[in-house]
């Protein structure tokens, strides 16, 4: 419908050609001025004119294609220039053409002007966006516009936003009834900026009417309550998000160290291998399947598992299997392996970090009340951590391999006696741990930097989680990861990131002294002394 109308308008313009002087060139001339205020004023005027020609000029300005040349305001796309006022193409591009620079202040004004025009669009989504945009910056110029839009608006969601916007504007009205209605409406808001508007209206000098004051105070209370809830959800969410990252970093280690008893210092590098595998898959998709680039991550999940698992098998077969039961030697050997892997990555991919992009469906977030936004990439990672956890649990509890691994862990010689191929089970279990680390690396590539030494930053966290959780327990790792994530985030909101990091480590030192066996301890005969 809307395109039909604008199409009709456009053809009208063509029909009348240059005879139809769309915009008064004098209006645009302010753009040529050196005075910043004057340029802002032109944007405001264009917003009030509000027709398609004004919109075209504003859009050109926004896209850095409005230019001044030969004393005229032009739309210049790098090749040919069009007179912005009349829409007529120039025969030659003037030599002194210079593109107008747009800064944030002007961009804000452009957005407001465009939103004013879009308030009466036929598209509900466009109207909603415009109303939301204008809600945050109501002024005496936009208020009548918003009131007019509100009276003609049918859509419930848009009405709600418009009502809030109008209420904001009416808070300073001379009419007591309008102020009262505004305060009552604003009680539904979840925006902290509204609080800042309401709070000064609590005293008698700025708000003479007692009933309005009471309504304002009620509105403040209800907004504060809503904000407190949103805030708490936000903190818990960031805590869970950090917890899920710790868990993904530690799950593989919970198998190799927790279950098999190998102190694997190269665990962080297995994460790195998974992250680089993701990077390579992204590159392949960009090169060969550019249309499906957003799907690269799904393909990267199995690949990062397999690649990291293969590296794990290689490590186990060549080094670690000779060192079972000798923790100190395996510690040193795996540390050496970690250096080898870091250097290998540096040689193959270069010492600099590589860029792994979020697929577009992982960018942005869900806006909760007020300022709380839950970013998609973090939501996806929390879900992914849960998925990996379920996968491992099923593997360990429901498959033959899982049963063998548990049997070997509990009593290696007895398992061997009853025919369990312990050496092969070791390899498989180590490969599983390494593969899970690869999955962790794939997830980490979405939020952290991918570089050769990235694993070093996670090895301490991973051991922290496994040791606090209790060696040999997957459930322990889950509780420890989530607990540490939440503690770290609550502390960070309170003390800052640097102190929070120290405080968590101090907490762990004290915890381990009081409870060396961790949160969940294995009990029974099989625990080797």
């Amino acid at each position: 419908m809307r395109s039909l109308i604008s199409g009709a308008l456009l053809s009208l313009c063509f029909l009348f050609g240059s005879a139809h002087a769309a915009l008064d060139p004098a209006v645009l001339q302010g753009f040529a001025s050196d005075d910043f205020g004057e340029r802002l004023a032109v944007i405001g005027k264009l917003g009030q004119i509000g027709d398609d020609d004004a919109r075209r000029v504003l859009e050109a300005l926004e896209n850095d294609s409005l230019a001044i040349g030969g004393g005229k305001v032009l739309i210049y796309d790098g090749e040919k220039a069009i007179d912005a006022a009349s829409g007529v193409a120039l025969d030659a591009v003037p030599d002194d053409i210079e593109t107008l620079t747009v800064n944030n202040r002007m961009r804000t004004a452009i957005e407001a002007a465009k939103a004013g025009m879009a308030l009466f669009s036929a598209d509900t989504a466009v109207r909603l966006a415009a109303a939301t945009r204008l809600r945050d910056s109501v002024n005496p110029v936009t208020l009548p516009l918003l009131e007019k839009a509100l009276s003609g608006e049918r859509d419930g969601a848009v009405r709600k936003v418009l009502a809030l916007a109008v209420a904001r504007g009416n808070l300073g009205s001379d009419d007591v009834a309008k102020r009262l209605a505004a305060a009552t409406t604003l009680a539904d808001s979840g925006d902290p900026a509204v609080l800042a508007l309401l709070e000064p209206r609590l005293d008698g000098t700025s708000e003479p009417d007692a009933t309005v004051r009471a309504a304002v105070s009620d509105a403040i209370k209800s907004i504060e309550r809503r904000l407190a809830i949103a805030d708490a959800i936000g903190t818990v969410f960031t805590g869970l998000s950090l917890g899920s990252i710790l868990l993904l970093a530690a799950l593989g280690l919970a198998i190799t160290y927790g279950v098999m008893g190998v102190i694997n210092m190269a665990h962080g590098e297995l994460l790195m291998v998974g992250a680089y595998a993701t990077y390579v898959i992204q590159g392949l998709f960009q090169k060969y399947l550019p249309g499906m680039v957003d799907g690269y991550l799904l393909a990267a999940i199995p690949v990062s598992f397999i690649v990291a698992a293969l590296v794990g098998v290689l490590m186990e077969r060549t080094v670690i299997r000779f060192l079972y039961g000798r923790p100190l030697e395996s510690l040193l050997a795996t540390w050496g392996l970690s250096l080898v892997l870091i250097q290998a990555a540096r040689t193959i991919f270069g010492p600099q970090n590589v860029q792994v992009d979020n697929p577009s469906w992982m960018s942005g977030g869900i806006a909760l009340l007020g300022d709380t936004v839950l970013p998609w990439n973090r939501i996806v990672i929390i879900g992914f951590a849960a998925f990996v956890l379920v996968l491992i649990w099923l593997l360990m509890q429901k498959t033959r391999l899982g049963m063998f691994v548990r049997a070997v862990t509990q009593n290696r010689s007895m398992a061997g006696c009853v025919g369990v191929p312990t050496a092969r089970v070791d390899t498989m279990a180590f490969a599983l741990g390494a593969g899970v680390a690869g999955l962790g690396g794939c997830a980490l590539s979405q939020i952290a930097n991918v570089g050769p030494a990235m694993g070093q930053g996670y090895i301490v966290d991973a051991f922290m989680v496994v040791v606090v959780g209790g060696v040999g327990q997957l459930a322990g790792a889950v509780w420890a990861a989530m607990g540490l994530g939440l503690i770290a985030k609550f502390l960070e909101g309170w003390t800052g990131a640097v102190v929070a990091k120290i405080a968590v480590l101090v907490f762990i030192i004290i915890f381990i002294q009081k409870r060396p066996q961790g949160l969940f301890a294995l009990k029974g005969r099989f625990v080797e002394s």
């Binding site: 800064n103 944030n104 925006d191 950090l242 600099q352 970090n353 960018s363 930097n449 030494a453 990131a497």
Partner: protein, 418 residues
């Protein structure tokens, strides 16, 4: 038996290392050795690798024109791996073992502080190419980056101006080390002098390599919702900037609401970020790649060609930035000073440096101050464009003289010059 064999192996190995070492020393006579001390790995590699590249390119350029005093320059590249004590070790190695005439290097202030005593003790010469916090003036160091009054203070003044959005509340966000802490101390004193109260300033620090900015961004949003226009001044350094800007984009904090002005983020750092959600966020520097003048066009072309020729990773998308320009200017000025002094002797070169001029890619002829070892530099403020480049929205009319001792820190009144 086993141990004896390995002992013999070790012996031959060390002998062969010694043998390799000998001819290197012998060839030093007809070249001038130049040390390059930049992290090529670790958290700072994102920023410093390009400086090593541009230094090598500049040395090639000088050699192609006949070298300095008729001698070729011979670069000696070492990697201190973002490890601050290792910087001091490598600096000592460059001066005492490799006998370099001059060293170009360091990015973070903590690395510079770590090598300063070495250059002082061995009377070496260091050219430091990055903006920093000031509060320092070493005889053995030339600072080709900006002092606070050539970057931080103009940037904050811009944010407070009508054009910059008339910000009234400020978040000072940085990595936890000497540069951000000192800069923020200066900025806080400056803001006080402009009538901004302490409750309108929020100061936050994160460790090096920090990658979880959720809480901080939530706090910034909360701080910004108090009704006054808020701006963020970021002194985050190294690869933490990637997760910071990613989170900023995901949290929907747009530059038109809360602009972020960064002092350590340039074209190179933004290569690792999707810049579409960052449109309009700011950076303050003394040079931007988008500045249009013939010297800059030639500089960019030279570097792009060099990158292709030397197979730099992603050579077709390489960019130039401010510290790269400062490195380029520094090496050329040093070469001019050596020609003037007719010697590479540290003291003679230092004497010849004052008053050197060079036509820089920033569009001005830059001068080395006669007394304070800093360049006079123009200031530019740019907004991030969708392609990761910067749109210059404000600039000074001419180069500004550096004030390494900020007048906003008490007790600095008496400190001027060396």
């Amino acid at each position: 038996m086993q141990s004896r064999r390995s002992f013999i192996k070790a012996l031959t190995l060390s002998a062969s290392i010694a043998a390799i070492g000998l001819p290197m020393g012998a060839s030093a006579a007809d070249t001038i050795k130049v040390g390059i001390l930049h992290s090529l790995s670790g958290t700072m590699a994102i920023s410093e690798t390009a400086l090593k590249n541009v230094a090598l390119m500049t040395i090639e350029e000088i050699n192609a024109k006949g070298g300095v005093m008729g001698k070729m320059l011979e670069p000696v590249v070492v990697d201190p791996a973002s490890n601050w004590p290792l910087f001091a070790e490598k600096a000592r190695q460059l001066i005492s073992q490799d006998k370099v005439a001059v060293t170009f290097g360091c990015w973070t202030s903590v690395s510079r502080k770590s090598v300063n005593p070495v250059f002082k003790e061995l009377n070496g010469l260091l050219f430091y190419p990055v903006q920093y916090e000031g509060e320092e003036l070493e005889k053995n160091v030339f600072y080709t980056g900006a002092a606070p009054n050539q970057q931080a203070i103009p940037a904050v003044e811009y944010l407070m101006s009508a054009e910059g959005g008339s910000a009234k509340r400020f978040v000072l966000l940085g990595t936890d080390y000497v540069y951000p802490r000192t800069t923020n101390k200066i900025l806080r004193a400056f803001l006080h002098s402009k009538g901004v109260k302490d409750e309108d300033i929020m100061e936050e620090y994160t460790p090096f390599g920090h990658s979880d900015y959720q809480t901080i961004i939530a706090n910034i949003k909360k701080f910004a919702s108090a009704g006054k226009k808020t701006a963020v001044v970021s002194t985050i350094n190294g690869d933490s900037n990637v997760p910071f800007y990613k989170e900023l984009g995901n949290a929907g904090l747009k530059a038109t609401d809360v602009p972020v002005v960064a002092f350590s983020v340039g074209e190179e750092e933004l290569r690792g970020v999707d810049t579409k959600p960052l449109l309009g966020h700011l950076a303050a520097w003394n040079y931007f790649m988008t500045i249009k003048n013939p010297v800059n066009a030639a500089f960019i072309k030279k570097y792009q060609d060099w990158a292709k020729k030397n197979n730099v990773p992603n050579a077709d998308t390489v960019v130039t930035n401010d510290p790269m320009e400062a490195t380029y200017v520094g090496i050329h000025m040093w070469a001019q000073a050596v020609e003037k002094a007719k010697s590479t002797d540290t003291d003679k070169v230092i004497a010849a440096m004052g008053g050197q001029t060079f036509k820089a890619p920033s569009g001005f002829t830059l001068t080395m101050d006669k007394t304070n070892h800093h360049l006079h530099k123009p200031v530019y403020i740019g907004e991030v464009k969708a392609d990761g480049q910067f749109n210059v929205v404000w600039k000074t009319k001419e180069p500004i003289r550096a004030q390494p001792w900020s007048p906003f820190i008490a007790g600095n009144e008496s400190k001027q010059g060396l």
